[in-house]
Amino acid sequence: MLARLRSYARTLRARNAFEDGMDEEMRFHLERRTEDLVRRGLSPADAARRARLEFGSIEKQKDLARAGVGVRLLDELRGDVSYALRTFVRNKGFAATAIITLALGIGSNAAIFSLFDALMLRWLPVNHPEQLLQVLKMSPDGTSDESFSYPMVRAIDAQPDLFAAAAGFSPASLTIGSGTGMRRVRVAYVSGAFYDALGLTPYEGRLLTRADDERGAPPVAVASYDFWRQQLGGTLAAISQPVLLRGVPVVVIGVSPPGFAGATVGTVADLTIPAAVLPQLVPRMDPLLGPGNSWLRILARPRPGVSVGETTARLGAVWPQITARSIDPRWSPTRKASVTGTRPMLTPGGTGWTYLRSIYVKPLQVLMGVVALVLLIGCANVASLMLARSSARQKELAVRLAIGASRERLIRQLLVESLMLSLLGAAAALVIAKVTGGLLVSIVSTARTQIVIDPTPNWHVIAFTAGVAIATAVLFGVAPALQSTRVDPAPVLKDDMRTSTMRSRLLPALLASQMALSLVLVIGAVLFVRTLRNLKTLDPGFHADGVLIVGLDQNGPPVSASVLEQVRQLPDVRSASFSTHTPLSGASWSEPALPAGRPLPERDTTLFVGASPRFFETLQLPILSGREFSDADTRQSPAVAIVNEAYATRYFPGQSPIGQRLSAIVRREKRDLEIVGLARNANTSSLRGRPPLTVYVPYGQLTGDVPTQLEIRVAGSAGDLTPALQRLLQPLLPNVPIDVERLAAQVDGSLIRERMMASLAGGFGLLALVLAAVGIYGLLAYTVARRTREIGIRMALGASRAGVIALVLGGTRLPLLIGIAVGAPAAWIASRWFESMLFGLKATDAAVIGTAIVILVAVAQLAAWLPARRAARVDPLVALRQE
């Protein structure tokens, strides 16, 4: 085997030397034979002739010798490739149509796969990422949790004989700089073993160590390479210099290697900061270092030579000790059990972590399915093109068969042509994927959550694309190659080719499958577009248009009501309020709250929102009975609450909630609340699903640190209030950039998945229709061209133009009917897979399926109309003269 490979390599490397050697060897033989024959008494001329006769055909022997070492196959392939290229140049229209079709089909796959790859499959650029493990904790009920408290991360890392290093990490953002130069910077809080676990070495300076991650250690940070180059000037002087983070000087001690920007996929960490430094930057965040907050994901590197199974066993053995250090003795037994009752699990962690995976894995899988169908439609197109063309090529093929080419040889050549088309299409597809990559990322990004991934095709994508291209070539190439070489050369050569037309059942079958696939995609597209529209036109219970929101302080003492008064003085401001949470911001707060007298459970039962006076007015969230909060609701006055309809129905069915009393835990404090108002249900946490049970409490009655949002309803004609708001608010909050957002944009942002599905499924549905239309057009145009004479005869015998049009259009009727009959149930079966992603309609929605069928039939008829009209314009005289 090895000898053969060496022999191949040798012959390929020195192809000319091989030929020369063969020549020389055979010439030597002939000369020696001639000499021997002369010695036996023949004349030199006779001897030379005799020697050649005895030798046989030199070319044949050479060819056999080439075949013997496998060179002939390569020669033939090379010949096939250049022959295919010449054919493409001769049939530019055919080649261009096929290549563009394939480029679109393969390009769709490459683009979606790039996104899939970037989010799900790409290794982190660290040392041996394949060894890294992510630690999960499994609850007895089978759910897994990937978040750990800081003490637990430290306890896992500190275990001897367990991991070489284990580190926690979590993305966040901070403000950097001061005054007008203040801006947000993306950071990662990590535990001290982070760079150890990842096996990274510094590009400049040094990286974090466990010693940096101790309470009271001097605050330090590691810059990413890009951040260092772009924001810190890329100089050595920048290292060991402090930057101001939330006003605190933090020394940049080093730069991580280029390409690495944190372990959280989809975002970048400009600065990486030890978790223990957090209280120095944000004193109120101190509880994050305690056992009560699970906010870090863990990546761990096993000890060399210790298997995953062994590591899991060791981790399981010490798990009780680890969890014991991660609970607060003051906790209730149930809460303690929520930590101690878990068991550890290890999963591969080399691709990093991102919450995006849980959000996008399903949409991306559905989209991979969608683009696969688009490609199948494209394949059907190219296959019909190849079939149509092969009947035009029958004569060429027949000649080649007649002069001795084997059928295998012809099939091989046709397949090489298919592969060439496919690979040319794939090359164009990679360009498409690269160009559309940025577009795809922008579709899944919102202003607030920028997704940073590099969608540039890497070798994964290139390998995937090449694989798809080869599979594609087989799909569209094999059937036409088999069919078109099944010719008997004799009649083709004797006769002209018009009488020996190939009657193919394959063409209508291809058309029918295209129709079925298109219908599936169009139904899917309509379902997703309608889902988005249903959600956008849904009445969420409040009125987002005309409301501006400003995030003031994510965690601080309540902001003085006098600020609100100043905001209300600004021109165009109709009303303004504070709240702890704006609708659909993604953040929420929940607490246990039940009618007074019932024992409070340990778990949270109810969504809480702190709201200042005029909150309901600002959001236009109607109070159905009772009153709104007023300036009279202060810390000194009785504690009050407003409940929503869902809460009232659940706990006070059939009676008015006004005047009823609740007991609740509000920010760790047990309170008795009197219900003073009933608010309309609103979709504050998600547009889908039922409004959650909600209790509103006065912002002014909250104690301790709270998040503060400012909502402002402005007049329709209002100009940009941002500068005015910044002037007003910046002095109050020197460490927070004042960003003014529209509430409507936040509502839209909550629909990002739906928008992605609607635009991509819609786009691919459209592409499918275009490809199907091209397929129909191509097939009918070809049929009309082939049947020109027959149409001429029919017209000469009195067929009307309308009759001819009907005849041609009739060619699409059966494939269309079969396509609908197969496609509609297929769409129904496929829709079970993504039914959970729909909203406000069922996958079997008759109107949707009807719409899709109408669209498909309309497109099919339109595509068929052009060739039909051409057929109707056939002049019988001209057609018959073609004979």
Binding site: L2, R4, G21, E25, M26, F28, H29, R33, L64, G68
Partner: protein, 113 residues
């Protein structure tokens, strides 16, 4: 010249291996040695030798090196590799078994059947 027999398919490879096992030869030399070994009783199409030599070299049972011939011309000399010796032994055994069986079969008389 004595009456010549057609070469049985597959036997050319065996003859070449046998010829080369007696010492390295160039292509024409292989032909001469086969004639000599078979006393000219087997008909070898001279050109057919080369595809066989190339195939055997490709399989790694013989190897060719360029050298100088008796009369000082460049010629490619073939010799048997270790794999070739194993192949020759196996092929010889197999041939002997086949030949013995064939001979026995062809000697069979009706009365014995």
């Amino acid at each position: 010249m004595a009456e010549q027999a057609e070469l049985l398919p597959g036997t050319l490879d065996l003859l070449i291996l046998k010829a080369l096992s007696l010492g390295p030869l160039h292509g024409y030399g292989v032909l001469l040695r086969i004639e000599q070994m078979t006393r000219g009783a087997l008909l070898v199409e001279q050109g057919a030798l080369y595809p066989a030599l190339y195939r055997l070299e490709h399989q790694g049972v013989i190897e060719g090196t360029w050298g100088t011939s008796e009369n000082n011309r460049r010629a490619k000399y073939y010799s048997v590799t270790a794999a070739g010796r194993r192949r020759l032994k196996e092929a010889t055994d197999s041939w002997n078994r086949t030949a013995a069986a064939m001979t026995a079969a062809l000697k069979a008389r009706p009365s014995e059947g």
